[in-house]
Subunit: 150 residues, 2 copies
């Protein structure tokens, strides 16, 4: 396979990102690939925020992965900065290729560069394959993740 | 008990906030109440960021609670904005007073005002009392929370 590049997402990447978000057992019913307007609005907001890093992984000119990293300063742990990983997606054609590992390694390296002391993420309790993947990368499943729709 | 006010944290609140962060079974060994410098630096960074809301609960002039709410735009779920609650602390003298509920209700109301569709938080797997508290407030323990120290 060709070289992989991980770079900030642009407007032109939005259709491919939304395609990957929708191609997911849990995400399918939450997305609207036929109307990209809300996604483009969200991308504008992310691009304007220096604490947000929405990236795509590109191989041979094709978007094959995505991830959102948010840098969060805070007071606890002696004023520690943490990062949160959201929206990790790997294109169906790339599963098992090590791309997920490359994306998370990118998130960890960027978090270090941004002086984070902690990288966090939550994973749906039903995604047991993902849990093994994160544990192999050194993440500890130490917390319960709660969500409330408002 | 007197009236309760929930308002943005200021420099003068930092000693009380750090006191509450340190007065915690899990947090005690992570804090340095004798040197507030890193906390004041973190507060400056939070205050400058419109997506950050570090608040204190004040009763009769005394800081008795704190919470950090972060607003996170994103592409998934049709460009949904979510919020993340971190660093919830209630002073020992106020436990059982309903202050925790008031703080979380403030976070939910603020999240709605900021057009969030989802409020998220993680809680250490050992804090079973906290888990019951969040479930009573409508939160679903649907996710596993992973952390990696970097």
């Amino acid at each position: 396979m060709g070289d992989l590049e991980i770079r900030p997402a642009t407007t032109a990447d939005v259709p491919a990102i939304v395609g990957m978000l929708a191609d997911d057992a849990l995400g399918a019913q939450c997305e609207s690939p036929d109307d990209l307007t809300p996604y483009l609005t969200a991308l504008d907001r992310l691009t304007a925020d220096p604490n947000q890093h929405l990236v795509v992984a590109v191989r041979e000119g094709r978007v094959v992965g995505t991830l959102q990293l948010t840098i969060i300063p805070g007071l606890s742990r002696m004023g520690a900065t943490r990062s949160i990983v959201e929206g990790v997606r790997v294109h169906a054609s790339e599963r098992g290729s090590g791309l997920g590992t490359r994306l998370i390694e990118w998130a960890i390296a960027t978090s270090r560069r941004e002086n984070c002391q902690l990288v966090q993420l939550t994973s749906d309790a039903t995604r047991t394959d993902a849990h093994r993947f994160y544990e192999r990368l050194g993440f500890m499943p130490s917390h319960v993740g709660f969500k409330l729709q408002v």
